[in-house]
Each structure stands twice: as C-alpha cells, then as structure tokens.
C-alpha cells in the first residue's frame, strides 16, 4: 500500500504509478463538472463604504460565502439540501431495484481508444514517461514538461 503511493524514480525522472495517474485523470474529469472556475465576484462585497475591509489580504483560499443569511434559512430547505453523492448513498440504502441510476450507465466502448496530444490536440503517439500524458512531437513534449507535467500532482 505504502509502495503504491510513493513516487518511483527512474534515472533523474520522477515516475507516477498507475494509481496516481488514475487519480489525476479522475481529477481532470471532475473539473469538467465545475460550475465556475473563478470565485464568487460578490463574495467580498461590502455594501457600506465606510465599513473597514478585513479581507484585503492575499489569502486566496476558497471561503464559504459570507453574508449568507444562515438564520433566515428555512428548516425545510435544510432538509432538502442534499448532494448527489448523498442521494446515491440514500438510494443504495433504500435498495432501489435493478434499473436505477447506477445500472443505467453505458459500459465501456468495444472499440479501441484513441489518444490525443495533451498540448496541441493532434494524434498523440508517444507517452510522457513521468505522468503518462500523450504527446505528438518533441516540441509538444517540451511545452508539456514546462507547463503541466507533474505541476499539479494529486
């Protein structure tokens, strides 16, 4: 277990193992479901100009939206609010029979996968040794290593 999460070194290169590569690609797919990339533009709004600004710092962490009227929120709405993960969990607990959300997912294709260069989008015939991304030519590999490869490790 411990072995699989450690980065393996091959020569002077760090090489990610299968589990890490999968985690990275899953993360990339999850990013496609994001509603917004940037933060709420109204989050730090202060209506009264005289009020001092406390959040002027360089702190760029995602914060809970302030100014959200917690007390005003209806009890009913709190009960309603469930994430999809919670809904799926509940569905499993209820034991909803066979044709359900989980069984409806289409299986994998029986055709071979195609690979595209992570940089330019053309056919990617080579694989980056470190992270497993595809690329098509030396130029693209250089760009890839400079910008993306291992830059945001999961």
């Amino acid at each position: 277990m411990e072995q699989s999460t450690k980065k393996e070194k091959r020569g002077d290169r760090v090489v990610l193992d299968e589990a890490q590569r999968n985690r990275r690609s899953r993360k990339a797919l999850d990013a496609l479901e994001q509603d917004n990339y940037h933060e709420d533009p109204h989050a730090n709004l202060i209506m009264n100009k005289k009020a001092p600004k406390f959040e002027d710092s360089l702190n760029t962490e995602r914060k809970d939206r302030p100014g959200k009227r917690k007390s005003a929120r209806d009890f009913k709405q709190v009960r309603f609010k469930k994430s999809l993960a919670a809904l799926l969990e509940e569905d499993r607990a209820l034991g909803t029979e066979s044709p359900n959300y989980m069984t409806a997912a289409a299986p994998a294709s029986k055709f071979p996968k195609r690979y595209f260069c992570a940089v330019c989008g053309m056919y990617g015939i080579y694989t980056c040794v470190s992270c497993g991304a595809r690329y098509c030519a030396k130029n693209c590999l250089d760009v890839h290593q400079e910008t993306r490869c291992l830059k945001w490790t999961a």
Binding site: S25, A28, L29, A31, L32, E33, Q34, D35, N36, Y37, H38, E39, D40, P41, H42, L45, R73, Q77, F80, K81, K82, S83, L84, L87, E90, D91, L94, T96, S98, P99, N100, Y101, A104, A105, A106, P107, A108, S109, K110, F111, K113, R114, F116, V119, C120, G121, M122, Y123, T147, R148
Partner: protein, 395 residues
C-alpha cells in the same frame, strides 16, 4: 395547463396555449459589473456585461440539489414579472431527469401542492413527452427511441407501444456542460485564458463547433495549421461588452489572423470538431464509456428482436447538443456502420431544445391522456406523497 421542462441549464416554460415556450436560464447569475443585484433566470437579459459571469446552478450532474436556488427561479417564473401563473385554476406538467431520486420527487410534489397549490401535477421524463408527441403525430408507429443529449448527460430511452423500457435506458456521462468546460480548458491552455468566461465560451461552442463526418481526414487537415489549405480554422472575435456586444466569426477571407488593437481573437482549429466529438467518443478524454451511437445500439440490441428494426427507423432527437451541425448525419453514419444493413435508419429532429415542451403541450391538449398521467390535488390529499412518487415512477 402550464408546461415546464425543467432542464439543468435552461428551463423551457409556457402555458399550453402559447405558441412557443420561453427559454429561461435555470440558475442565478452574478456579474462582476453589477454588484447591486443578482440575476434570476432571464433577468440576465438586463445585464450589459457578461464577462466573468458567476453561475449558481441548482442541478448537480442533472439532479436537483440546490432547492434554495431552484425555488427562487420557480418563484420568479410563476410570478407577475414573468408568467403570472394562477395555480388555483391551472395544473402543471413538468419534467424530471431519468431515474430521479425518491426524495427529489417527494420534494417537488410537496412544493407544487403545498407551496404553490397547483390543481394537478404530472411529472415525466422529457423523452416521454417527446415520444408521446411523436407517436401521436405518426399514429402508425408503435415504437421509438429517444436520444436526449442535454446539458448534464446524454440518454438513450427506448419506447415500445408508448411504454418506456426502463431496463434499456443508457446514460453517458457527458453533456453540454462538459463540452463547454473542455473547450474552455483547451483554449485557455493553448491560446488565451478564458477559464472565467463560461458564458462566452458557451457561445463560441454554439457558434463554431460542429460534428465531424470524417474525423481522420479533418484531423489531417487541422494538422496543416494556419495554411490556407486548411479549411477548418476560424477566427472568432471575442466580445468586450463595450463596442463588441457579442462574439462573432470573422470570415476566413477577411481575417489576417492578428487581432487589431481593440479586440481579442481566438483561432479555433481542431477544437471545432474535437469538442462535440466527445459525445461520440467519450473515451477520448478518458471517460470509460461508449459514445451515443454505440449506446443506441447497445440499448436496442437488448430489446426483443421483433422491435429492433422499429427502433432504428424511429429515432427522435432531443436536447441542445443535437443543435450541432451534422449531429444527426453523424449519428446515422455511425449507426449504419454498426448495425445490419437491412435495418432502415430514420432520425427525426425538430427543434430539439423545445421538443419536450412541445410534447407537454400536445399532452395538455388531450384530456384523456392527461388524466392518466396527472395527479390531482384531491388525490394527493387523499393518498399522500408516497402514492404520488410510485405513480410517477410507473408512468
């Protein structure tokens, strides 16, 4: 009757007597330029500057999770400012996603009967409404297969003798949202950072993306880069919301490939067809699922032999992704390669965005059919919520 196709991206709403539904964004948006207010639904039209719009959506992967936002949007839609729906005299037909969760159905039922006081409520899958209308318009047909490719996901839903075959519904976890985000990623990495510009990139997607009919040849063409022989690339002028209110494609013969000082351009090359291609090959970005054409075959193959040919000759398209140029042609082309040649393929695609609403409108016109599918307020009060949910699941 009021018909509400409650999509994850836009809701299509209107009275059954209206000619056309109103397409309203099903979200609350915040703009950088307007700090004093939030825009609910189509109030967004008041906003002059659409750059860096911030979306608060109420659906997660197609299922309703953010009720606070959804209620505000509904309140607005039914209010005097929008439709002025009087629930004391009207019932409502609305749509829900496939395999909707029990607790969501309970909440919807409760909200419409208790909060709004609707006279009757009918909750159906969008494809059921489309299939209903298709089988009424073509009375000789017995079966049809609906391909619903929307914002959150794509589904194949077969209907045999007006009945939904639940076991053969297939879902592919890719929809318009993923496509827009994919395009945003690709453009931001290769050219210009547009990560914050979901609204603009969505317009880019709608304006210049198309489905390729010969993927390999077009890849070769795109590989030619900026040369004149490459007929794929297009220069897209981005809006700046001062002089350019909406982005547009600059015709290839007029462009120099360079932006003038007052504008920003994006050159769309392979992205034009690679984006919608994900619907047909989700594995291209590592989603281990078959594409929509293959899923269609997979779903139909699991049906009895006798109905299979009827399925392929009665395919109906639904959902915004069907608006991509060549979408229908590509589906026919793919299916032709996958299925035996003695099966006829016939695909119908009429205004795929409004199709479900039109189906609801058709249903509202036929009182007998509507009575079979709706729960009246009285029935709700007598039988309670659990009965309603079972009723909707059996439709």
């Amino acid at each position: 009757m009021f018909v509400l196709d409650n999509g994850a991206s836009t809701l299509k709403a209107g009275f059954a007597t209206d000619a056309q539904p109103k397409v309203i964004p099903n979200c609350i948006t915040k703009a950088k330029s307007e700090t004093r207010r939030r825009f609910i639904g189509d109030q967004l039209e008041d906003c002059k500057d659409m750059s860096s719009l911030y979306y608060i959506l109420c659906h997660e992967k197609g299922y309703l999770v953010n009720w606070e936002v959804q209620k505000q949007v509904w309140d607005y839609v039914f209010s005097k400012d929008c439709f002025n729906v009087d629930f004391d005299s009207t019932g409502i037909i609305m749509t829900e996603p496939y395999f909707n969760f029990c607790s969501i159905q309970e909440n919807i039922t409760e909200i419409f009967f208790e909060d709004y006081g609707a006279q009757s409520l009918s909750i159906m899958n969008p494809s059921s409404l489309v299939a209903y209308k298709y089988l009424i318009d073509n009375p000789k047909k017995l079966c049809c297969a609906v391909l619903d490719s929307g914002y959150s996901f794509s589904h194949v839903v077969p209907y045999v003798k007006k009945k939904r075959v639940k076991d053969n519904i297939r879902r592919i976890n890719i929809g318009g949202k993923a496509l827009t985000n994919y395009l945003k990623d690709a453009l931001s990495y290769r050219q210009l950072n547009v990560m914050d510009e979901t609204y603009v990139v969505n317009q880019v997607k709608e304006d210049v993306c198309y489905v390729s009919l010969d993927f390999h040849r077009e890849m070769e063409m795109a590989a030619l880069g900026n040369s004149r022989e490459n007929t794929i690339w297009r220069d897209y002028v981005l809006p700046d919301y001062t002089s350019i209110k909406r982005g547009y494609v600059r015709p290839p013969e007029q462009t120099t490939g360079k932006a003038t000082s007052a504008e920003q351009i994006i050159r769309m090359n392979a992205e034009r067809f690679q984006t919608p291609e994900l619907l047909f090959n989700p594995s291209d970005i590592g989603i281990e699922q078959m594409g929509i054409s293959e899923a269609m075959m997979h779903s139909v193959n699991a049906l009895p032999k006798e109905v299979q040919s009827h399925m392929y000759s009665n395919i109906v398209l639904l959902g915004g992704n069907a608006m991509f140029p060549n979408f229908k042609e590509r589906l026919v082309q793919d299916l032709r390669m996958l299925i035996p040649e003695f099966y006829d393929i016939n695909v119908t695609c009429e205004n795929p965005i409004n199709a479900a609403w039109e189906g609801g409108k058709a249903l509202a016109r036929c009182k007998e059919d509507l009575d079979d599918k709706a729960i009246t307020k009285q029935l709700y009060e007598e039988q309670g919520i659990a009965y309603c949910v079972d009723f909707y699941n059996l439709l």
